[in-house]
Symmetry: C2
């Protein structure tokens, strides 16, 4: 039985040997939630960028750009980091590539490339990620983007939720991190949004739009897609695209 | 109101600025539990060593030596890493200095020396540590020794227990790490030993002696002392010694 482990911060990644394993990158508020939403909404592929300048350079190649600074949309880009930007129709996104700056999420992803496969996880595609991992049948590690390297509750809860879904097929007891995430996930039931209102990150984002985003981002199984890292970009395969378009 | 934060692994210490703060080093199984027990039993001071060779060199200067390898007492030393070694009378310890090798605990301590004060925490001296922190009235960080850099449940539970004791006097909501530790501590109630039986570390130590040690190490408030780092050794002040000797 393969095992599911959880890495609480990119700073702890040197402790994990990702070779032969699947890495699930998670940054619930809001990078991976927004990226899953973007691809489900018909974005063709995503280039995650560490720097705003890198993002803007891709605009010249026809990319839409998405970035935030201090919780609001950055100047001179097309979209902020809210998932609603891909749904509200203000900026048409279907058929476009998007360059997105995210500090924590991009760092977690770039540090995980030794893995056999690197995919994005969010509550929005929880069931799809669980199915993907079952099909891979390899050891998996949830890589929490965290907050500037620190442990954060929302990414940990995702790890616990995934462990709960996978406990019949994966060993979810091999590490204390997974055991703790499972217990925190059970504590957060039945109202994950209410539980997260106490988190330090959510309190930092204490304004209406952020709370709407948070309520959206904790919805489970909205999108049946698994963004995967391939050729330096995040994409979903054609079969997934067809399913997504039919929805 | 000062804040109480928790650092889940020595690997995360670079994220914490310890200047002006008190660091509470915790390695429940078993380094800090054994050191608290040793000082309460009349050991005059402790030199924590990373290497067995360093420990053996101090034997020539009159130190008792304590070390384990793979869960059992190392060859050629006086004591293992069980707290019972300081209580069972087989090796007289009162009035002696002890050189102890511990991998995780020593590393956590040496990486925390930028703090204003560095003290040892264990369930055994939980109330004493809480009182010490109240008197200091400074921001404090619990530094979990963890397991080879990884998150571990038992040190985290200590952080949660300390946060619960201090919540009237300290801000225990400023970081997600402290919030998570509090919730895990509440989940572990009322039977902390039973809860820890599922932890990866305890299962690694799955033999009778280790379980006896674990049951001992989760007892709260047995010793009213706070080991403090001073002049490259761990000691308790004279007032504490007097109290300890009178017990």
């Amino acid at each position: 039985m393969p095992s599911l482990d959880i890495c609480f911060s990119p700073e702890l990644l040197p402790l994990f040997d990702l070779r032969g394993r699947v890495a699930v990158i998670v940054d619930i508020l809001r990078a991976t939630s927004s990226m899953v939403t973007a691809l489900a909404a018909g974005v063709t592929h995503i280039v995650p960028c560490s720097e705003l300048a890198e993002c803007r350079a891709l605009a010249a190649q026809g990319y839409l750009t998405a970035a935030e600074r201090d919780g609001v949309q950055a100047e001179g880009v097309d979209l902020g980091n809210s998932p609603f930007g891909y749904l509200d129709g203000v900026v048409p996104v279907r058929g476009r590539g998007v360059a997105i700056t995210t500090t924590n999420g991009t760092r977690a992803l770039h540090l995980s490339l030794a893995a056999d496969a690197v995919v994005l996880g969010a509550f929005l595609n929880l069931a799809a990620v669980a199915s993907f991992l079952r099909r891979q049948n390899k050891d998996a590690v949830v890589v929490c983007a965290g907050w500037k390297g620190h442990f954060c509750l929302e990414d940990t809860l995702f790890g616990g939720a995934l462990a709960e879904r996978l406990q019949a097929d994966f060993d979810v007891t091999a590490s204390d991190a997974t055991l703790a995430a499972l217990d925190l996930w059970r504590t957060a039931q039945p109202d994950v949004a209410a539980y997260l209102l106490k988190s330090a990150h959510v309190r930092r984002l204490n304004h209406l739009e952020a709370h709407q985003d948070m309520a959206f981002c904790v919805q489970q199984d909205e999108y049946d897609i698994v963004p995967i890292w391939r050729d330096n970009q995040l994409t979903i395969n054609n079969e997934q695209l067809t399913m997504s378009n039919e929805q």
